[in-house]
C-alpha cells in the first residue's frame, strides 16, 4: 500500500491503490467493508495497524500499515560510536535485547579480531537462552490472552518474572539490557548465578507441564489454532520467514545449529519442526523450544568455567574500513547486523535484518478467508514485536 508521500507511485486522489479496493456492493452478493484494527487495539501488541477488508466476519484482505513507532534507529546509529549503538538495539526487539546486543558485538569482534574468553562465551549462551525462554513465556501469556484465556497471561508473566529478576541482578535492567560488549559482557555474573539458573531450569520443567495442562490440550485452544493460518514450507521460505514461524512450516533452519556462533556447537539440542505451519504448529514449536533452551542451560551450567568474563577492553572501537555481517538466532528468528565502516569511530552505515518484518509479511495470505478471531490467533502466533519492524 502506498502512502501519498511515496513519490514512486502516487495514488490518484480519493482512490485506493489497485488490489485494495472494495468490490461493488451487491454485484456478487458481497457487502464488504473496512475495519481498522489498530494502531490502538488490544491484540495488535503495540502500534501495528491492520486494515482489514471484511465480508461479514470473514477476512477478505489484510494490509499491515507500519511506521507508527519508527525511530530511525539505523540512522541514529551512524552518529554514535559502536558501543553507544548497542543500547539502541535493545529497543528494536525488546524481548530479545541481549541477543540483539550479541549480534552487534559479534560483528564488531569479527571486524577487529577480538576474541572472547571461555567464561564470556558461556555467559553469552546462557543469557541468550534465558532470554529466549523469557520471551517465549511472555509470548505464551499473550497468546493465551489473545485467545481469551486471560489467566494464562498472568501465569506467563509470573514465570517470566523469575528470569527478569535474574537479569536485573545481572545488569540492572529488566527490559533494555545493554549487557554484552565487544569481547564479552559489561560485568561478570553475580556469585549465585549458576544456582539461580539451575533453580529456574528445575521450575521450568514443572511450569511447562503446567502450561500444557492449562492451555495446550484444551479442545478450545486446539480448535482455535489447528488448521488456522497455515503457511506452506515454500511460502515461508519465499517470504523470508525465520525462527519459530519458519520452523513450524517445516523449514529446518536455526542459526544456532546451521551457522553456529559463540559456543552453540558444543551443546546438544534439537531444532523442533512443525509440518503444517498452522497456528497450532507454531505454538508447539515454541513450547518445545523452551524445553530445548532448558537443555542447553543445564549443559552450560554443568561446565561453567572460571576466568575472565571479558577480553581486555579497548580504549576505542574503530572498525577497519569494510563491511561486516553477523547473524544470531533471537527468540523470533534470524537477526542480522550489517556494518559498513569507513574506518572511523562511527559506522558509515549500519543495517539490521530483523526477523519480524519478514514474519509479518505472510499475514495477508494466512488470514484471508478466515474469521477476525483467526486473524488475532495468527497475529499472536507470529509473535510480532512492532518496534523491531519499524526500528
Amino acid at each position: 500500500m502506498n502512502t501519498p508521500s511515496s513519490p514512486s507511485a502516487p495514488a490518484p486522489e480519493h482512490r485506493l491503490p489497485p488490489g485494495f479496493a472494495l468490490h461493488a456492493s451487491g454485484a456478487d452478493g458481497s457487502q464488504e467493508y473496512f475495519l481498522n484494527m489498530g494502531p490502538q487495539h488490544p491484540s495488535t501488541h503495540g502500534v501495528l495497524k491492520l486494515v482489514v477488508r471484511l465480508d461479514g466476519e470473514t477476512v477478505v484482505e489484510v494490509v499491515p500499515h507500519l511506521g507508527f513507532i519508527h525511530r530511525a534507529i539505523e540512522k541514529m546509529g551512524e552518529s554514535e560510536t559502536y558501543v553507544q549503538y548497542l543500547h539502541l538495539t535493545d529497543r528494536m526487539d525488546y524481548l530479545s535485547s541481549h541477543i540483539n546486543n550479541l549480534g552487534v558485538c559479534m560483528a564488531i569482534e569479527k571486524a577487529m579480531g577480538i576474541g572472547v574468553p571461555e567464561r564470556g562465551e558461556y555467559i553469552r549462551v546462557m543469557v541468550s537462552e534465558l532470554q529466549r525462554i523469557q520471551s517465549h513465556l511472555l509470548w505464551w501469556g499473550a497468546f493465551g490472552m489473545d485467545l481469551g484465556a486471560v489467566t494464562a497471561f498472568l501465569y506467563g508473566f509470573k514465570e517470566r518474572e523469575k528470569i527478569t529478576a535474574l537479569f536485573e541482578d545481572l545488569c540492572g535492567a529488566r527490559l533494555t539490557m545493554n549487557y554484552f560488549r565487544p569481547g564479552g559482557s559489561n560485568a561478570d555474573v553475580p556469585e549465585n548465578f549458576i544456582p539461580r539458573v539451575l533453580e529456574i531450569v528445575e521450575e521450568m520443567k514443572f511450569t511447562l507441564d503446567e502450561f500444557n495442562a492449562l492451555l495446550s490440550a484444551n479442545p478450545i485452544t486446539i480448535s482455535r489454532t489447528q488448521g488456522v493460518g497455515a503457511l506452506s514450507r515454500e511460502r515461508a521460505i519465499s517470504y523470508g520467514c525465520s525462527g519459530p514461524v519458519a520452523r513450524a512450516s517445516g523449514v529446518n533452519f536455526d542459526v544456532r545449529r546451521h551457522a553456529p556462533y559463540s559456543i552453540y556447537d558444543r551443546f546438544e539440542f534439537d531444532v523442533p519442526l512443525g509440518q503444517n505451519g498452522d497456528c497450532y504448529d507454531r505454538y508447539r514449536v515454541r513450547m518445545e523450544e523452551m524445553r530445548q533452551s532448558v537443555r542447553i542451560l543445564e549443559q552450560a551450567a554443568a561446565s561453567f568455567p572460571e576466568g575472565p568474563h571479558r577480553a581486555k577492553e579497548k580504549p576505542v572501537y574503530k572498525l577497519p574500513a569494510g563491511s561486516y555481517f553477523s547473524s544470531v538466532e533471537t527468540a523470533r528468528g534470524m537477526f542480522g547486523t550489517y556494518i559498513v565502516s569507513d574506518g572511523g569511530l562511527k559506522p558509515y552505515r549500519i543495517k539490521s535484518r530483523s526477523p519480524n518484518l519478514s514474519n509479518l509479511a505472510p499475514i495477508a495470505e494466512m488470514a484471508a478467508g478466515g474469521k477476525i478471531a483467526d486473524l488475532v490467533a495468527i497475529l499472536s502466533t507470529l509473535d510480532i514485536i512492532v518496534p523491531d519492524i519499524d526500528r
Binding site: 467493508y33 475495519l35 487495539h41 488490544p42 491484540s43 466476519e57 493465551g144 490472552m145 489473545d146 485467545l147 481469551g148 484465556a149 486471560v150 489467566t151 494464562a152 498472568l154 501465569y155 509470573k158 492449562l214 492451555l215 484444551n218 478450545i220 485452544t221 480448535s223 482455535r224 474469521k371 477476525i372 478471531a373 483467526d374 488475532v376
Partner: protein, 360 residues
C-alpha cells in the same frame, strides 16, 4: 384472573389495613424497593467476588486496599464511573444509544421478580412463571443489539450481530432444559417447581430424573453461560478481537449499566439454575433425621444464596480458565450438538416421567 399474590407477613398486614388498590400499590412499591436494594447489593458483592475469584485463579490477591478485604472496591469503581463524563460520539443514534443500556438490567430485574427466594419471599408468583422468565430475559438481547447498532461503530456492530446470533441460538437449548423440569414438576410456576423438589437431596431434579436431570443441568450451565455473555462464550464483547464489542462506544454511567447488568444477569441465571435443578430455597436434606433438623433450621434464603453462589462460582471458574470460542464454532456447538442433545434429553426425560422411572 390469575392470583399472583404471595403470602408474606408484611404484605398480608398491609392488605389487612388498606383497601385492595392502595394495598396492591404499597406492596408493589415495597417489592420494587427491596428488589432494587437486592440488585444493588448483589451487583456490588458480585463485582467484588469476581475480582477476588479471578485474582485467586491468576495467583494474585485482588483488591485489598479499599475497605476490609477490598470489599468497598466496587463502590469506589462505581463512584469513578459516576464521575466520568457520559460521552456520546456524535455519529450515534441518540435514542438507541441511550435506550440500550437500560434494557439488559431491566430484563434481569424482571426475572428476579418471579424468583422464589424463600417460602414467602417472592414478588409475584405467576402460574406461567417460566414463560415470563424466558420473555423477560429476551430484553437483554435487545439491549445489546440496539446498543451495537446505535453506536455506529463497526466493532460494536460486529459485537451486537454476534450476540444476536449467539443469544437467540442458545436460548433454545436453555428453554428445552427448563421445559424438561417444567414437564417433570407438572407446573410452570417457579414456586411450584421448587416445592416439587421437597424431600432429600435426591429429590432435586438434577438427581431425581436419572441421567436426564444431570445432563439438563450441564446443558443449562453451558447455554446460560452463553446467554450471560461471559467467557469462554463472551463473543459479543471479545475484548481481544472487537475491543469491547457492543459496548465499545459506551463510557461512564451508560457503560456501567451494561456492566452491572452482566452481574445481575449472572445472579438471575444462577438463581434460575438453583430453582430448577438444586431445590431452590429448600434445605439439602440427606435423610438422617438429626442432621436434617439442623439443616432445615437454617432459613431458606440462605440455602438459596449458597446454591446460587455455587453456580456463580462455576460461571467465574469457566470464565477464568477457558479460551474463547470462535463464532462459527460457537454456533456449530449449539446447532449441531447442544440443541440435538437437549432435544434427545427432553425425550428421555419425557419417557422417564411417563413411565414413572424416577428415583424413589
Amino acid at each position: 384472573m390469575i392470583d399472583l399474590t404471595v403470602t408474606h407477613p408484611i404484605g398480608d398486614r398491609i392488605r389487612e389495613v388498606l383497601p385492595p388498590l392502595p394495598a396492591a400499590l404499597a406492596n408493589g412499591a415495597l417489592a420494587v424497593a427491596s428488589l432494587a436494594l437486592l440488585v444493588t447489593v448483589m451487583a456490588i458483592l458480585l463485582v467484588w467476588l469476581e475480582r477476588k475469584v479471578c485474582a485467586r485463579f491468576q495467583a494474585r490477591l485482588g483488591p485489598t486496599r479499599v475497605g476490609p478485604f477490598g470489599l468497598l472496591q466496587p463502590i469506589a469503581d462505581a463512584l469513578k464511573l459516576l464521575m466520568k463524563e457520559n460521552l456520546r460520539p456524535t455519529a450515534t443514534d441518540m435514542v438507541a444509544y441511550y435506550l440500550a443500556p437500560l434494557l439488559p438490567i431491566t430484563g434481569s430485574f424482571l426475572v428476579l421478580t418471579v424468583i422464589p427466594f424463600d417460602h414467602n419471599l417472592q414478588v409475584a408468583n405467576p402460574g406461567a412463571g417460566v414463560v415470563f422468565v424466558i420473555a423477560a430475559s429476551g430484553l437483554g438481547i435487545l439491549g445489546t443489539l440496539i446498543g451495537g447498532w446505535g453506536s455506529n461503530n463497526k466493532y460494536a456492530l460486529l459485537g451486537s450481530m454476534r450476540s444476536g446470533a449467539q443469544l437467540f441460538s442458545y436460548e433454545l437449548s436453555m428453554v428445552l432444559c427448563m421445559l424438561l423440569v417444567v414437564m417433570a414438576a407438572g407446573s410452570a410456576s417457579l414456586r411450584e417447581i421448587v416445592l416439587s423438589q421437597q424431600g432429600t437431596v435426591l429429590d432435586w431434579w438434577i438427581f431425581k430424573l436419572p441421567g436426564a436431570g444431570f445432563a439438563a443441568f450441564l446443558l443449562f450451565l453451558i447455554s446460560s453461560t452463553a446467554e450471560l455473555n461471559r467467557g469462554p462464550l463472551d463473543l459479543s464483547e471479545a475484548e481481544q478481537e472487537l475491543t469491547g464489542g457492543f459496548h465499545t462506544e459506551y463510557a461512564g454511567m451508560s457503560f456501567s449499566m451494561f456492566f452491572l447488568a452482566e452481574f445481575v444477569n449472572m445472579f438471575a441465571a444462577a438463581a434460575l439454575g438453583s430453582t430448577f435443578f438444586l431445590g431452590g430455597f429448600l434445605a439439602p436434606q440427606i435423610g438422617v433425621h438429626a442432621v436434617d433438623a439442623v439443616l432445615s433450621f437454617v432459613p431458606g434464603v440462605i440455602w438459596f444464596g449458597l446454591k446460587s453462589g455455587f453456580l456463580i462460582f462455576l460461571y467465574m471458574w469457566f470464565r477464568w480458565t477457558f479460551p474463547r470460542l470462535r463464532i462459527d464454532h460457537l454456533l456449530a456447538l449449539e446447532w449441531k450438538f447442544l440443541l440435538p442433545v437437549s432435544m434427545g434429553n427432553l425425550l428421555l426425560g419425557a419417557t422417564l416421567v411417563t413411565f414413572g422411572l424416577l428415583l424413589p
